[in-house]
């Protein structure tokens, strides 16, 4: 952040710059058109300044390079700002309304400026299928998003686009109307659980390549959407837009909607349920069973799996010892169930890389952190979510492989979660799972970017944990951290100050280097932000 880069020698120049920028904003606010050229210049200067300021993030580069046992000269690390962690803040999910207008534009505009001043690298913008292709297949309306992208660009921020082929419950953003109408008559478009409950917030992965959408396959429809997005935003892609993530399932994540029927009232997360009961999934299962010589195994999902809110041992499938999951049948089913998910992920990622591969933007996919019951032998929730990851088997290896094959990066939410945040009884371990997924990714050379868990209220200690995940000994995130999400709570007095402090702490050390010639002064800093001085000391040691 600017604040921190200001060394004494640069102070004067930067201040002038700042004054100029403020002027630029004022002008553009008053008259967008006639001053646009002037503000463009202002922005360009901001970008230059931003590069300089990006040195504020180089701590991570230094540390990670140290991890690789190649201690670089401090000057060198500063000249490679790309290696620092850049923070992106999510824009409100409903930033663009269903009518393609910008919701609370004024607030977003003020928010963008505040973030920019804080030294945030960019923002993340969800682009909804249900908004941009709402009316009819092939009829795209990106106007609201274009306006917003322009705003972001004007604010001098980078942009990460999330292409959302799923729907959102809160705020309510549905799938495109023409899709839900088809779904009315063909419930097999959706995932279905054992008791017949349909998950209508995204399409079932079993229809990916079936011509269910007016004669077109969902894959073809997704591809057209991506192509159209690419051409509509071509002037921004790889300049303002630096990354694109593609929705892989419920909430954009690569998983089954295994928790769709969990009651919100239930205090403990149950194991979830398998979602393989729509006609097409059952058909695939039947074929697979016949092919493997056990036709009787293809008649349905496991009969002895617990219900959504139940504990793993309330039925026999996930029992720690002697559970059906460890039988040949269990292995057969879980392999098939997880493989369907992996194939689905592979299809979408290769689609995304075929469309955007030549643009220079990074392509991402989100892998969820299904951490409940991680410490049991069977990992029931991961199994129902589609990850065949148990005490006997690494379920994330094949996932990482798919990302590697398509040169995509992984976004991993839950950077802020601590094992201690969860009751022991749930055998939850977000930290161990994070480590496992990271290890799988690094094995295949896949970059991992972080995201916080999108809890309504940020957990206490979450910032500390994120910092650890960013820079600690098992620090990971190669390039980016997405922080969800701008809104009333984000700017509220309960939250914004701690966010500000977090931003400062991840970018501060550089300032210490510049500002503090003497070690003692680092020490003097300690009571404020121990992690800062710690890192600072670390740097100096290097």
């Amino acid at each position: 952040m600017e604040v921190s880069v200001i060394g004494s020698s640069q102070a004067k120049a930067v201040r002038t710059d700042f004054a100029y920028r403020v002027l630029g904003f004022c002008s553009s606010r008053r008259n967008d058109v006639s001053f646009s050229r002037k503000s463009r210049i202002g922005i360009d200067r901001n970008i230059i300044r931003l590069r300089r300021s990006a040195t504020g993030f180089t701590l991570k580069a230094v540390l990670s390079e140290q991890d690789r046992a190649t201690p670089p000269a401090p000057a060198l690390s500063r000249s490679h700002p790309k290696n620092g962690v850049s923070l992106y803040v999510g824009l409100p999910l409903d930033a663009v309304s269903e009518a393609s207008t910008i919701n609370h534009a004024k607030a977003i505009s003020a928010g963008l400026k505040a973030l920019k001043l804080l030294g945030v690298e960019g923002v993340e913008l969800p682009v909804w299928w249900g908004v941009a292709e709402k009316e009819a297949n092939g009829s795209y309306n990106f106007s609201g998003y274009l306006d917003l992208v322009k705003m972001v660009k004007k604010a001098g921020l980078k942009l990460h686009i999330s292409l959302c082929f799923h729907a959102s419950k809160q705020p309510k953003i549905s799938l495109p109307e023409w899709v839900t109408q088809i779904g009315e008559n063909d419930p097999n478009l959706y995932f279905r659980d054992r008791s017949g409950l349909l998950y209508k917030d995204c399409l079932s992965l079993a229809v990916d390549e079936l011509p269910v959408l007016g004669g077109k396959t969902p894959m073809a429809v997704y591809k057209d959407f991506c192509e159209n997005f690419k051409s509509s935003f071509s002037e921004f892609i790889s300049s303002t837009i630096t990354g694109i993530s593609i929705s892989l399932g419920p909430n954009g994540e690569l998983r089954y909607p295994f928790d769709q029927g969990r009651s919100r009232k239930s205090k403990l997360p149950g194991v979830g349920e398998f979602q393989c009961y729509d006609k097409n999934m059952l058909g695939l299962l039947k074929l697979h069973a016949e092919a493997s010589g056990n036709p009787l195994w293809g008649l349905g999902g496991p009969h002895d799996a617990p219900r959504y809110d139940q504990m793993p041992d309330s039925n026999s499938f996930f029992k720690d010892h002697g559970g059906s999951w460890e039988t040949p049948y269990g292995d057969f089913f879980l392999k098939w169930y997880s493989q369907e998910l992996v194939s689905h992920g592979s299809r979408l990622l290769s689609l995304a890389s075929s469309v955007f591969g030549d643009t220079g933007v990074s392509i991402f996919g989100k892998v969820p952190l299904v951490h409940s019951w991680y410490k049991s032998r069977a990992h029931p929730s991961e199994l129902t979510a589609g990850f065949y990851n148990t005490v006997n088997r690494d379920g994330y290896d094949s996932i990482a492989e798919v990302f590697a094959k398509n040169s995509c990066k992984v976004i991993l939410p839950g950077m802020d979660l601590l094992d201690d945040d969860f009751p022991n009884i749930t055998l939850s371990s977000p930290q161990s799972l994070l480590r496992q997924v990271r290890a799988a990714c690094s094995k295949h050379g896949v970059d991992v970017s972080g995201q916080n868990s999108s809890a309504a209220v940020f957990p206490e200690g979450g910032f500390e944990q994120m910092k650890k995940n960013l820079s600690g000994p098992d620090g990971c995130c190669s390039g980016m951290l997405i922080y969800e999400r701008m809104g009333a709570y984000f700017f509220s007095p309960e939250h914004f100050p701690s966010f500000t402090a977090f931003m400062r702490s991840i970018s501060q050390p550089e300032t210490d280097m510049d500002d503090l010639p003497q070690e003692q002064e680092v020490g003097a800093n300690e009571p404020f932000l121990p992690t800062v001085s710690e890192s600072g000391a670390h740097l100096q040691a290097a």
């Binding site: 409950l197 029927g261 149950g270």
Partner: protein
């Protein structure tokens, strides 16, 4: 907030003053806690004078047009003082000492207490050859002066202030001499506080000091043993157990090792000294005074709240814009020191008054706000409200604006005075809290960076820019987030306002599980068995579990209670019961105790050989038995309800009976941890008594069993069961709605409808549900089976194999559904779980609306809250897609349930 736009002006206007303050040493830059700093700010800038004399409020200043106003009480349009009653808990200790009197052969027992109060020792003795556990009065020569005999088994001796003591000024004690050769085996006592009427015991038992060593009489004796054991069998009629824990300080006195030797040699007696913690609850009366006036300049209302409560007082508050008193958070600015609590309410710490006890706060409220709702918090978990409701301050909507703009010089003058004297209320009360809070950050950062003065200024201006922008974004996001507000309101209704929780309904979203059947007593370890299922019960979505009757009983199932205080039953021991309740609480399930108040089995025969003398702690005689049952020769009044002929029916019209029962219920709440009651056979006595019991024991939920026969004509059930449900309604009404009742009517009608394919019965003549649930849904506890109707008794079994139709009905309809144990743990479990999950998901509650869409021979269908549609019966039904679209959520044998999408 329109003011946000002009904020920068205001903000710059103040910055000069503020910054100069910030540079002073008052700031603690080490702290990053905003609320704390803000509070600190508050102390610096704003402190309120007691409202005795008018004090200055600078309302708001826009640039140069600053306004000055005074808060005097001449134009107050609302003023009310609310009484606050609460209990303060004081911790002290009781000590018990047994030692030799000086130069004497006699032993002396000293009982003392370190807390002030009018302490009475209520005591008696046991003789060596006594069998049983009754007390006797001590011989006359043992009684200290001032002793008063109580009936024929105890005496009461007041504790006197100890003449000389090093323990401070509040030591009270009594000494009892014991002759060495007496035949007294033990002294039993409890301590009573005359002021509060509270009894103090040890773990619900009497204190017992053994005077001889009886090897078989092991660990339930004070002294010489580690801690107090449990006395088997209850003594006396005492409750209100406030001694906590095991004896925490236990010292051998009389000393130096010799005492233990001596004790071994002297097989009769050894000296000892024990201390036990004691918690006394003292009722305290305070008040809170609220006055409201119009701000003459801004058309806002200014509310001033003042209380004489000691210590830190937090006002937990919200506002409402309609008569429904739904909590909302008003838009910022909020008073200094305010935090938002879980998006539902605001919390403001009141300012301590200078030089006086108590504290006060000032709240500015927009004119469109109709009411100010609050409760007060003192200490961590002590909440004060207005007789069970939130305090409510109505705010007049009539605007009565008085402009009083003074010239600028006066403003300046006053603001200087504000800074100087710290006595006047600054207008910053009205400035946006966020700006200030974020500014604190600026000062933090700037002070941190003070080593480089050159960069400091640049940084500060940037951070000020950030703070301004963040505040702007915050205010817009907040005001435009409708959905967020709605959710907050509905949540606060359900969760945050405990006053809305009534014992008749619980939260309104309760789902009951009957946690036993007729056979549960057979194993002798039901509590343990059920404990293993606690998590499952919770995960299935139940919020309340009903446990079997816990008392010692003549019949193994527990419905023929004898000694109410003996909770060792065929289901397990009292300790296992406590353990079970604790377990359910851990998984967030409330627990109902099954209490039998209608009748009680006697322990002794009277002179005519009739069993009508009770034993145990509540050793009532035949006056406690109703007079109109010749079997038991009761001498009480006539019964206020129907008679249960197998046991003496209790006469609830007797004051002592009611007092004892209330004490017992309170004891169960406290000792066992029960959250509420399932009341057995409430047909037997007047509902008004139940109201009395419930008000005393304050359960979270209570349900009564009022079971009588439906109307039949020539063995065919009448369509109209209004008379039947009216009797149940009458009973609920007599309890003043403090209890719900099992909806026997609905069960009966479901029987006929399903068994005889007469689904038309499920709509009454007015097109509403025909059971209690159609008339008073919030108090109807719907069920299809219980331990009497089903299980191995099968007095009135639900049509076999069709239970799921019954559950599809009760779990989608209003009322509070109860699911029977045998069904929860059967092959129906997953179907029941899905229905419960659907009910919870759609937030169907006890007052949800029902629209019956079909009631024909072979099908019944209804739509609840426009969210859930259901049908039972073999006939065809599909919900109409009108304003909402329906998707089939669940399907089973002859039932279907749809959800609106």
């Amino acid at each position: 907030m329109s003011t946000v736009i002009t904020e920068p002006l205001l903000h710059h206007d103040l910055r000069g003053i503020r910054r100069s303050r910030l540079k002073s040493s008052i700031f603690r830059p080490a702290s990053m806690s905003f609320s704390r700093q803000f509070r600190c700010h508050g102390r610096i800038f704003y402190s309120f004078k007691p409202p005795r004399k008018p004090f200055i409020v600078r309302a708001s200043s826009f640039g140069s047009a600053a306004i000055v106003e005074t808060f005097d009480f001449t134009d107050v349009f609302f003023r009310e003082t609310f009484p606050l009653r609460w209990t303060e808990t004081v911790e002290g200790r009781i000590f018990v000492r047994l030692d030799k009197e000086k130069n004497d052969q006699n032993w002396q027992l000293t009982v003392g207490c370190g807390l002030p109060g009018k302490w009475i020792l209520h005591w008696g003795v046991s003789y060596i050859d006594d069998v049983g556990s009754e007390w006797d009065q001590p011989p006359a020569d043992m009684r200290p002066p001032g002793s008063v005999p109580i009936k024929d088994y105890a005496i009461e001796t007041p504790l006197e202030k100890a003449p000389s003591t090093t323990e401070g000024d509040g030591l009270y004690e009594v000494k009892i001499s014991v002759k060495p050769d007496s035949t007294i085996a033990a002294i039993n006592f409890v301590l009573k506080d005359e002021e509060t009427g509270a009894w103090y015991q040890h773990k619900g038992r009497d204190f017992k000091v053994a005077l001889i060593d009886r090897p078989h009489d092991d660990n339930n004796i004070i002294g010489g043993q580690k801690g107090f054991g449990i006395w088997p069998g209850a003594l006396g009629q005492l409750s209100n157990i406030l001694l906590k824990g095991e004896a925490s300080h236990s010292k051998e006195e009389g000393t130096d090792g010799a005492s233990s030797n001596e004790k071994q040699e002297d097989s009769c007696l050894g000296g000892f000294y024990e201390e036990l913690p004691l918690v006394k609850q003292i009722p305290v009366h305070n008040s809170v005074c609220v006055s409201v006036r119009k701000c003459p300049t801004t058309a806002k209302n200014i509310l001033y709240l003042e209380t004489d409560l000691p210590g830190d007082v937090i006002v937990h508050w919200g506002v409402c814009r309609d008569d429904a008193k739904n909590w909302e958070i008003p838009v910022a600015p909020h008073p200094p020191g305010t935090t938002i609590f879980k998006r539902k309410a605001l919390r403001t710490l009141l300012k301590q008054k200078e030089g006086a006890k108590g504290c006060s706060g000032l709240f500015t409220l927009d004119k469109d706000i109709l009411g100010f709702l609050f409760v007060l918090r003192i200490k961590e978990n002590t909440w004060l409200n207005s007789m069970g409701n939130d305090f409510f301050v109505p705010l007049s909507n009539s605007s009565n604006l008085v402009q009083s703009i003074k010239d600028q010089s006066e403003t300046t003058h006053i603001s200087e005075k504000t800074d100087g004297e710290n006595e006047e209320v600054s207008d910053s009360v009205y400035t946006d809290g966020i700006i200030n809070e974020i500014r604190n950050l600026v000062s933090d950062i700037s002070s941190e960076k003070n080593r480089n003065t050159k960069t400091k200024e640049a940084q500060e201006s940037i951070l000020q820019e950030i703070e301004k922008l963040a505040a702007e974004a915050y205010s817009i996001f907040r005001s435009s987030m409708q959905t967020f507000l709605e959710e907050a309101v509905s949540e606060s209704k359900a969760v945050d306002s405990p006053s809305k929780v009534s014992s008749g309904t619980g939260s309104g979203y309760e789902i009951l599980c009957q946690g036993f059947n007729w056979e549960s007593n057979k194993s002798g370890r039901w509590y343990k068995e059920l404990k293993e299922k606690a998590e499952e019960v919770s995960s299935l979505g139940f919020s309340i579990i009903w446990l079997p009757p816990p008392t010692e009983s003549v019949s193994p199932e527990g419905y023929m209670p004898k000694d109410l205080y003996n909770l060792n039953s065929r289901y397990g021991t009292i300790e296992e019961l406590k353990d079970l309740v604790k377990k359910f609480h851990e998984v967030n399930v409330k627990v109902l105790g099954d209490v039998v108040l209608n009748h009680r089995c006697a322990q002794y025969k009277n002179q005519n050989g009739v069993w009508n003398i009770f034993g145990g702690r509540l050793n009532w005689d035949d006056r406690a038995i109703v007079a109109d049952d010749p079997h038991f020769q009761g001498r009480g009044n006539k019964s206020s309800g129907d008679n249960f002929h197998a046991a003496p029916n209790i006469d609830h019209s007797q004051d002592f009976v009611r007092k004892d029962l209330k004490e017992w219920l309170c004891w169960l709440r406290k000792e066992i941890g029960y959250d509420g009651w399932r009341l057995d056979f409430v047909r037997g006595f007047w509902g008004g008594y139940v109201k009395d019991y419930l008000e005393a024991s304050e359960p979270y939920f209570a349900v009564g069993e009022f079971w009588d026969s439906l109307s039949y004509s020539y063995s065919v059930m009448d369509h109209n069961q209004d008379a039947h449900r009216q009797r149940i309604i009458d009973w609920i009404n007599a309890t003043n709605g403090t209890a719900g009742a099992f909806d026997v009517t609905t069960k009966g009608i479901l029987h006929s409808a399903i068994e005889r394919r007469e689904y038309w019965r499920l709509s009454d003549e007015k097109g509403k549900p025909p059971g209690v649930v159609g008339w008073w849904p919030s108090r109807a506890v719907t069920f299809i089976e219980n331990h009497d109707t089903g299980s191995t008794q099968g007095h009135w079994r639900f049509p076999g194999g069709k239970e799921m139709q019954g559950y599809a009905y009760i779990l989608t309809h209003p009322g509070t559904p109860a699911v029977f144990y045998d069904h929860v743990f059967s092959h129906y479990q997953s179907e029941i779980a899905s229905l419960i999950s659907l009910r919870n998901r759609n937030k169907i509650h006890c007052r949800s609306t029902v629209k019956i869409t079909k009631a024909e021979k072979d099908v019944y269908a209804a739509i609840m809250d426009d969210k859930v549609a259901m049908k039972i019966g073999p006939g065809y039904y599909e919900p109409q897609s009108g304003s909402q679209r329906w998707s089939l959520a669940l399907e089973g044998s002859n039932y279907k349930v749809w959800e609106a999408t």
